[in-house]
């Protein structure tokens, strides 16, 4: 429990340091602009009050026949200046601070990307599903509030109060001191109380939201059975309970916020009242004249603009804190000591794996599987129906099957160049120099060029066209609106499964890996195209170690370049029947 709260504090602090401290100059300027806007508004009202009173008094004395020199032009232009200044500074402030927020967003993204890219492949798979991504988006959105709602408004309010007190101190130090300390103290009390009170509820609301999400997804998964058994409505009761709880909590939070608003409004009203009384007293005692008295009261009145927005702004603290907490471990995964001394100096030339009793590879449950890549047998063909563990085997060979690394040692035995190696060492050795065509196509939302050259700097267009020709996509690419610069993915060109497959394959052809693993490369291609493409890429494959995984072996796999006798064939029997 204690650890958890420590983590909460840390995560908010962590993000504050990353986002605010690194941009402290921007934050300061932004806060100053917020303050300036409010100060202009205060000045506008206060000066107007002074002006009216002064002119009224002047008017009375003029009517009484006295000659009075009142400079009406300076205050007049002052009023116009403040009016314009308020508009301009408000506009600047909003632009500037939104710019800062977008910069921060960029920082969060970079930090998250850096953090996530140190995750292991197996961990990433768990993370990058649709549900998780949608929550990540929501969390990123909540981080906006850190600057715009949580930091700037209170900061500007304190500056405003300081300015007000400074103004008062021209006439009375004690009044200024009293104004500053009492307002600061009381509003701090109000906000601390408010945040304390709503902390539990807003945290409860967020957790409630997440359990409701789980329950809801569960409900959706069971929909067919529930519908048939006519139990859908009954099962929805549990969801209705959630909405009731939401309602209650939200009402409570609204009530709390309304109370805070009430307290702040009351505080401000009292401030205005006290200011009025003090000003009248001061004017009577001749400390200052009537226009100044009105000016002071109106300045305090206008200060309300800064104060009254605060409860609504600070109310999002709970949500932001929660988002910060959730993003924290993603940006900062637990440090993992990577032993670089284990890194091999040279590439392997012989690889043996003995495998028995792997839970996801049924064939290994019955007997020990032996896989071997060597100069004599550089190519391995694995056939078996879906669900027979082919992809699991591919990931094992690639050293990505890390999740059960403890008992992986008992299941699999790795040998490189005849030397026994641990599974960790193995995965380190295999990390470089492999090319893997996974079963699922992954096309980035970007141009065709980027999609093919991903991870490779300085590739010429010519080379890209070359590999596109090998996978028979060159004609198609030429027909696209912008050739290689045509956009693929969500907002771009639609791709058929076969086209996506071939783009993923083309990606590998630009590389010179040591080991190539192709998992169902012919998915979505008709037989004759599959054969042509296989011919086209055979020269590229010939000098590499190759692992080909297919559900049914096509008869064109071996050819002059990839002769039959160099292939090893591993067949997974269909199911364990």
């Amino acid at each position: 429990m204690k650890n958890k709260s420590l983590n909460e504090v840390n995560s908010l602090r962590y993000w504050s340091i990353i986002l605010l401290w690194r941009h402290r100059n921007r934050v300061m300027i932004g806060a100053l602009l917020v303050f300036l806007t409010a100060a202009f508004a205060m000045a506008l009202l206060a000066l107007s009050g002074w002006f009216i009173t002064a002119t009224a008094l002047a008017g009375i004395s003029v009517a009484a026949g006295a000659m009075l020199a009142l400079d009406i032009y300076l205050p007049g232009s002052g009023i116009r200046f403040f009016a314009l200044g308020r508009t301009v500074s408000r506009y600047m402030e909003r632009l500037y601070n939104h710019d800062s927020v977008l910069r921060q967003l960029s920082l969060i993204r970079q930090q998250l990307f850096k953090g996530l890219s140190t995750f292991r492949t197996s961990e990433l798979k768990k993370q990058t599903n649709a549900d998780w991504l949608s929550r990540l988006t929501a969390d990123l959105d909540s981080m906006d509030s850190l600057l715009l709602r949580l930091l700037l408004p209170p900061f500007a309010a304190v500056l405003g109060l300081l300015l007000l007190s400074l103004l008062v101190s021209f006439w009375s130090y004690t009044a200024a001191l009293f104004l500053f300390t009492s307002t600061l103290f009381l509003s701090c009390m109000i906000f601390i109380l408010f945040l304390r009170l709503q902390e539990n509820d807003s945290k409860a609301l967020v957790t409630l939201f997440n359990s409701a999400r789980e329950e809801f997804i569960n409900h959706m998964n069971g929909l067919p059975e529930l519908r048939c058994a006519k139990m859908q409505e009954h099962h929805q009761q549990s969801l209705l309970i959630f909405t009731n709880k939401f309602n209650k909590l939200q009402c409570r939070l609204v009530r709390l916020q309304a109370n805070a608003q009430l307290a702040i409004n009351t505080l401000h009203s009292i401030m205005v009242l006290v200011a009025a009384i003090c000003s009248i007293k001061g004017a009577q005692e001749g400390l200052f004249d009537a226009p100044v008295a009105v000016l002071l009261v109106l300045a305090v009145f206008a200060f309300g603009e800064l104060l009254q927005l605060l409860p609504g702004q600070l109310g999002v603290l709970g949500r932001t804190r929660y988002a910060a907490e959730r993003l924290y471990p993603l940006a900062n995964p637990a440090e993992e000591t990577k032993d670089t001394s284990l890194l091999p100096q040279k590439l392997w030339n012989k690889l043996d794996i003995h495998l028995s009793g792997h839970p996801y590879i049924p064939a290994s449950l019955k007997q020990m599987l032996t896989l071997e890549f060597s100069a004599a047998k550089p190519y391995l063909l694995v056939t078996g129906r879906s669900g027979s563990g082919k992809s699991t085997l591919a990931e094992l060979i690639l050293g990505e099957a890390h999740e059960q690394s403890e008992h992986l040692g008992t299941i699999a035995c790795f040998k490189l160049d005849g030397q026994n190696v641990s599974s960790e060492q193995y995965s380190l050795s295999l990390q470089e120099g492999t090319a893997y065509l996974s079963q699922r196509n992954s096309i980035l939302a970007d141009t065709l060029f980027i999609n093919v050259t991903l991870g490779l700097p300085d590739i010429s267009d010519e080379k890209v066209w070359q590999v596109l020709r090998l996978v028979e996509l060159d004609e198609w690419a030429k027909s696209l609106p912008a050739d290689l610069d045509s956009w693929l993915g969500d907002t771009g060109q639609e791709l058929s499964g076969g086209q996506a497959r071939r783009i993923c394959l083309a990606r590998l052809l630009l590389r010179a890996p040591h080991l190539v693993v192709l998992d169902e490369p012919f998915n979505g291609l008709d037989e004759s195209m599959a054969e042509r493409i296989w011919r086209n890429i055979a020269p590229w494959l010939a000098d590499k170690y190759v692992m080909l995984l297919v559900h049914k072996s096509p008869d064109f796999v071996s050819s002059d370049l990839l002769p039959q006798q160099h292939w090893q064939h591993l067949q997974f029997s269909s199911e364990d029947e």
Binding site: R109, D131, A212, V254
Partner: protein, 489 residues
């Protein structure tokens, strides 16, 4: 002042409560509409996406319901009242305010139009840049495999910056609208102050200015910012409306106006148990779209005690057929009648291919489709399928959690548990999708014997490629050969 403070508090609480209630009813309506819509239609979306709709999208209504909507009226009323109050004291000042007020919405609309245009121009590039980060995270595995992490990290930074540029371009125009508002309110306050000042000085000799006193002048000055305040709040809440509209656009696809007042229809369940019931499949045409019907004019008549077996190679539409019979996927034409009434009015025991297991206790899972079932019945059902040992000896009994001891239960056990649950519904119609798939021989025999025992009292429809089930079948549809043949027994 006191009244104002208290009233503001009341307004906030009431509008907040109203908004919570409003969101509540939207959620309820969603749930009810999901009760009526064909399951196949709902399952087009991922459960996570639906959950997002149900939770977050409805939440977006908050700002709209609690702030924008009431503010619409407040801004009209309060400005009117202030205008009248000012008019009583000085009609010229009121005129000044009146003239400036309509200019504000006018300019805001003009600026808004400009921003919208700009937004449209940048729409695609903006969307692409905004989606860039999530897209890269989604494809992070591929990026890692291609060793493109550093390249992509640079890209994330660059794109975020470009995104900022594009967004700022739009914002520069969009914020002008609030600047216009600010400008007019400031200028109006300033000109009123100057006007009052000069009147008091006696410099203005015409109009009502002669009657102005210091007090009424101050009064008008204090009211002037109040006059603009509702408009400013209104403008601030404008984006609440935009957010609500966006999510309403999403939700509207799911909602029909009826949903808000219709009450449940599930209570009309017919549960008369006739001694011998009969299920009629009448000229059923199934498929996902009228243009490509999968199968046409399928007909069958099954009495209690009879069994229909549907087989065919994978991808031939066996499960689709079963879903159509169950009413989960509306048939393109034809009817499924039980004792002359539509099957939808009856509770049906349906076992999908992928068993649905709740992350909870054994009891939770068994009771979810039949909440009133007794422990004795549950135990019997488990015993029939050889699962009773999990619960019998355990201190928690039916409270034992499914995923206890890490790994949980195997696929075959899940299958049997789900079957046990469908048995407990006690329905006369059982539709089972691959009840013996992924079972070891021993469990398969258990399931077979259960089905044998059950058969005399129910109408049974099985989908399977398991030849062992043929012994149960009175009628057999082999979808691979597209013909229906009756087995003579």
């Amino acid at each position: 002042m006191v009244a104002r403070v208290c009233l503001l508090r009341a307004q906030e609480q009431i509008s907040g409560a109203a908004s919570a209630a409003g969101r509540d009813s939207v959620r309820l309506a969603l749930l009810q509409s999901w009760q009526r819509q064909p399951v196949s239609l709902i399952q087009q979306y991922s459960p996570a996406a639906c959950a997002g709709q149900w939770l977050e999208d409805t939440e977006a209504f908050d700002g709209f319901l609690a702030r924008y909507w009431p503010q619409q009226y407040i801004s009209v009323f309060s400005t009117l009242i202030i205008l009248i109050a000012v008019y009583i004291h000085d009609w010229l000042a009121a005129l000044l305010l009146l003239l400036s007020a309509p200019l504000i919405p006018l300019f805001m609309v003009l600026v808004g139009k400009g921003a919208e245009q700009l937004n449209k121009n940048h729409f695609v590039s903006r969307q692409r840049l905004a989606g860039h980060f999530l897209d890269r995270i989604k494809n992070l595995t591929t990026i890692k495999r291609l060793n493109a992490e550093t390249q992509t990290l640079d890209e994330v930074a660059q794109r975020s910056d470009r995104y900022r540029d594009v967004v700022m371009k739009t914002l520069k125009i969009a914020f002008l609208s609030s600047a216009v508002l600010e400008f007019f309110s400031s200028v109006a306050i300033a000109s009123i102050a100057l006007y009052i000042g000069f009147s008091l000085l006696g410099a203005i000799s015409w109009g009502p200015s002669a009657e102005l006193t210091l007090l009424s002048g101050l009064f008008i000055l204090l009211l002037a910012p109040e006059f603009f305040q509702p408009l400013r709040t209104f403008a601030q809440f404008y984006h609440d409306k935009a957010a609500a509209l966006a999510s309403a656009g999403q939700l509207i696809l799911q909602l029909i106006p009826d949903d808000f007042n219709k009450v449940s229809s599930e209570s009309e369940l017919t549960s008369i148990r006739a001694s011998a019931s009969q299920l009629d499949i009448q000229r059923l045409t199934i498929g996902h779209s009228n243009h490509y019907p999968l199968y046409k004019n399928l007909s069958a008549r099954l009495r209690t005690g009879q069994c229909l077996l549907v087989s065919g190679r994978s991808g031939s539409g066996k499960s689709t057929l079963l879903q159509s019979i169950a009413g989960l996927l509306p048939p393109l034409s034809g009817d499924v009648l039980f004792n002359g009434q539509p099957l939808q009015q009856h509770a049906v025991a349906y076992l999908p291919q992928q068993p649905w297991i709740i992350n909870g206790s054994w009891g939770d899972n068994l009771k979810v489709l039949s909440p009133d079932v007794s422990e004795q019945d549950m135990l019997e059902a488990l015993a029939l399928l050889g699962l009773d040992s999990y619960v019998r000896g355990h201190p928690n009994g039916f409270g034992r959690l499914i995923d206890e001891q890490g790994g949980g239960i195997s696929g075959g056990q899940m299958q049997r548990l789900a079957l046990a649950r469908t048995l407990l519904i006690g329905s006369e119609i059982m539709l089972l999708d691959e009840p013996t798939a992924s079972l070891d021989p021993q469990s398969r025999d258990l399931v077979l014997s259960v089905l044998q025992k059950l058969k005399p009292s129910v109408v049974l429809i099985l989908v399977s490629h398991d030849p062992a089930l043929l012994t149960l079948a009175d009628e057999h549809w082999d979808l691979s050969s597209l013909e229906s043949l009756t087995i003579e027994k």
